[in-house]
């Protein structure tokens, strides 16, 4: 595996003309690997550890919401949900107390590997790519992959009809693994957004667990249930080194299934149905069938590198266009703040403070899911025969959203740059009869630009990295590609290094170019041709 990474990374670096960096990258990789190995690896000590601590720490994400794990509406300090009850019952069977640990859903597995908690218990589907990474207990819920489409769209009839169609689902879900290579998958990080985008026509279908579909999709009058594609299972995920803990949890789940307690819990959340009857008589044969024979993970190969390069392309395009917006917009904001009439200066000041004072993630979210659906962009485009452009909406919002955010930072950079130009320069220009706008354009701004250039470069490099946030609005850029591939190849090191190398390959030349440009502006300018 490491040899493979070495081969891929070194080929990549060589192609980029950065072969000199190879020793560095290898050193970094070894350091990471070493750190990984030195983590405590007490084989089979899981159950003893949990018992000694007297607490079973279970990881989940309250963002998944009702009915899994969510804050009690009557008492927001208390967590409720069927998984809270199951965790409590399992812990009780083990003779310990249950303790919830909040963790981003898409990073539950790496957190389990780092032992942020003892087990994963949160709509944790049994998927081929996870089998082998974690030990699964017997299931505590049988779900159905439910397909939904718009009422007005009869073209979606079954799984097969999804071929090439835009289909929304959660990143890292079983549905994602089913859809990949078949439909044009649009990945979301929340449960509400896929259905919202299906209503507005950003996607053609959504494939997700029946629990999610029932809560978020079915209530929307514009949508219809197409049917169930297949069954799937929620089970408890345990660290592979904690085989004894896995066995104990398995036994505990068996007891609460057989005693009828599980049925009561699921019934309280209106989740009990025929499918769940299987849970009571669950046998070892069922478990073997559920786990199946997982295909061996594909090695990190050429195909992945190509996907990464594509992701890097998206990152570069989004960052460049966003900066292309941020620079002129920031300039206007800075000028409005320094020289505009008072109301305009105030407005520009407010813009800068608000955009700097709120998370860019929130801005992207509000823009894409909050504001844009009301503009009916898609309908306008389709009316003009430009429906194909609608597919670029996420990319467009990514550029505009990041651009508007960075404009605030650029505005401050330019303001500092303008203020760094000595007052004498302005006075000399005014005394010659130049107007204020002429003075700004011909004297102040060209000098301010030089003062600002290093900061603009820094901002651009920061933007390259910040652009990874646009995955919340379904744009698959470099970092997102990395997380997808990491699940695929069952490892983070290779994809992580490749991802880091690509970011570096983009930001390093940028820094170089900027330094050269600075030196050029600073130093000898080409002498004007003699007359």
């Amino acid at each position: 595996m490491l040899g493979e990474i070495h081969r891929v990374v070194s080929a990549l670096l060589r192609r980029l003309g950065l072969a000199a960096l190879l020793p560095w990258v290898v050193a970094l990789a070894s350091a990471l690997l070493f750190a990984g190995c030195s983590a405590p690896a007490a084989k089979g000590g899981g159950l003893a550890r949990v018992k000694k601590a007297g607490v079973l720490r279970w990881g989940g994400d309250v963002q998944g919401g009702e009915p899994y794990v969510y804050a009690d509406p009557k008492d927001p300090n208390r967590l409720v949900g069927f998984e809270v009850e199951i965790a409590a019952a399992v812990a009780r069977e083990l003779g310990v107390r249950a303790e919830f640990v909040q963790n981003d859903w898409s990073h539950l597995v790496p957190s389990l590997e780092r032992r942020t908690f003892d087990v994963i218990l949160n709509g944790f589907e049994v998927t081929p790519s996870r089998i082998g990474k974690v030990v699964y207990s017997r299931p505590y819920y049988v779900f159905a992959e439910r397909l939904m489409a718009r009422k007005g769209d009869p073209s979606i009839v079954d799984f097969a009809s999804l071929r090439g169609r835009k289909t929304g689902t959660l990143a890292g879900s079983l549905a994602f693994e089913l859809l990949r290579g078949h439909a044009d998958v649009v990945m979301y990080e929340g449960t509400e957004e896929p259905y919202q985008d299906l209503v507005t026509g950003r996607t053609d279908a959504v494939l997700l667990d029946d629990i999610i579909a029932a809560r978020y999709g079915v209530p929307k009058p514009e949508l219809r249930v197409v049917g169930d594609v297949r069954d799937g299972y929620y089970a408890v995920g345990v660290h592979p080194d904690d085989a004894d803990l896995a066995a104990a949890i398995d036994a505990a789940l068996g007891r609460i299934s057989k005693s009828g307690e599980l049925e009561q819990i699921l019934t309280r959340s209106s989740l009990w149905n025929e499918r769940q009857a299987r849970l009571v008589a669950w046998s070892d044969a069922d478990q073997d069938q559920m786990l199946g024979k997982p295909p061996p993970p594909p090695p990190l190969g050429r195909g992945h590198v190509w996907l990464f390069v594509k992701g890097a392309g998206v990152t570069l395009v989004v960052s460049t266009l966003a900066m292309g917006l941020a620079i002129p917009m920031g300039m206007l904001l800075a000028l409005a703040r320094l020289h505009g009439p008072r109301p305009l200066a105030r407005l520009a000041g407010a813009y800068v403070e608000i955009y700097r004072g709120t998370p860019v993630l929130l801005q992207l979210y509000v823009l894409y899911y909050g504001l844009l659906p009301y503009l009916h962009l898609r309908q306008h485009l389709e009316a003009r025969g430009l429906g194909a452009l609608a597919a670029l909406e996420p990319l467009f919002v990514a550029c505009v959203g990041l651009g508007m955010n960075y404009a605030a930072y650029e505005a401050e950079t330019y303001r500092a740059g303008i203020q760094a130009v000595p007052k004498g320069q302005t006075e000399a220009a005014l005394s010659l009869g130049l107007s204020l706008p002429q003075t700004l354009r011909r004297v102040v701004l060209p000098q301010a630009f030089r003062h600002s250039l290093p900061n603009v470069t820094n901002d651009f490099i920061a933007l390259l990295k910040d652009s990874s946030l646009v995955s919340v609005i379904t744009v698959v850029e470099l970092t997102k590609q990395m997380t997808i591939t990491a699940v695929d190849v069952r490892g983070w090191l290779g994809p992580g290094l490749l991802c880091a190398a690509l970011y570096f390959a983009m930001s390093y030349p940028l820094g170089r170019v900027a330094r050269r440009l600075e030196a050029k502006l600073e130093g000898q300018r080409p002498k004007a041709a003699a007359p």
């Binding site: 004498g424 320069q425 000399a428 005394s431 010659l432 009869g433 004297v443 060209p446 000098q447």
Partner: protein
């Protein structure tokens, strides 16, 4: 040509000019002397519209500024700035432009000359101040004396009716003062109207013309002999 009537200027309630009356005629040099902090620079800046004043009026030709709160007529500001070229103690050459571009900027941008015509004019003026060979140098590649000569050429490029000079040599080494002095002497010879703020009575005498002294916020007419004794070294007055 330039007429000041009762010009009063305060900074944060501190009275700097108490009501200055001054008449400057076409042709000839008016030297403005006075102790440090007496408001000489402030007076020049008021004439050029770089500083507002509280009371009184300043007229250059037909254009007039009035003191007080009301905003200046932009046409009057433009007309006065065109009529009065300003030379600063610290030169203030545009740092990103060559000597030639410094001189050519205003003719091109304000007088709307073609780029070629503006450059021609710049080259002529640089020749006049003896800097043809340095036309393509950036300000930081020039000595202080060279920079100030470029600044004089720049002020002359708009063909002003008067030059306002604020201690044009006091930031220069003694051996560099001479070259700027020669340029100013030649301009005086040619009958250029100049208002020269200086610490150095010898300088004022060398250019001839009238000497006025600013003291306690008001002007007192004077001739050079009433200022510090002539046998004193002019440079000794630098730092009063």
């Amino acid at each position: 040509m330039i007429t000041l009537r009762g010009v009063k200027k305060t900074f944060d309630g501190r009275v700097i000019l108490r009501g200055v009356d001054l008449e400057i005629d076409e042709g000839g040099v008016t030297s403005l002397l006075g102790p440090s902090g007496s408001g000489k620079s402030t007076l020049l800046r008021c004439i050029n519209g770089l500083e507002r004043f509280d009371e009184g009026s300043i007229a250059v030709g037909d254009a007039v500024y009035r003191g007080g709160g009301h905003p200046d007529d932009p046409r009057a500001v433009a007309a006065i700035r065109r009529a009065c070229g300003m030379v600063f103690q610290q030169f203030h050459l545009f740092a990103h432009l060559t000597a030639e571009e410094n001189v050519a900027l205003a003719p091109e941008v304000v007088a709307k000359l073609s780029r070629a015509a503006a450059r021609d004019r710049a080259r002529d003026l640089l020749e006049k101040v003896g800097l043809s060979s340095r036309a393509h140098a950036l300000p930081r590649e020039l000595s202080g004396g060279e920079q100030q000569r470029v600044a004089i050429a720049r002020a002359l490029a708009m063909e002003p009716r008067a030059l306002l000079l604020d201690e044009p040599t006091s930031a220069l080494d003694p051996e560099r003062k001479g070259e700027v002095m020669d340029v100013l002497a030649a301009l005086a010879e040619a009958g250029t109207t100049m208002v020269l703020v200086t610490h150095e009575p010898a300088f004022a005498r060398a250019l001839g013309g009238r000497v006025v002294v600013l003291r306690d916020g008001a002007l007192a007419a004077s001739d050079a002999r009433s200022e510090p004794s002539p046998h004193r070294d002019p440079d000794a007055d630098e730092h009063d």
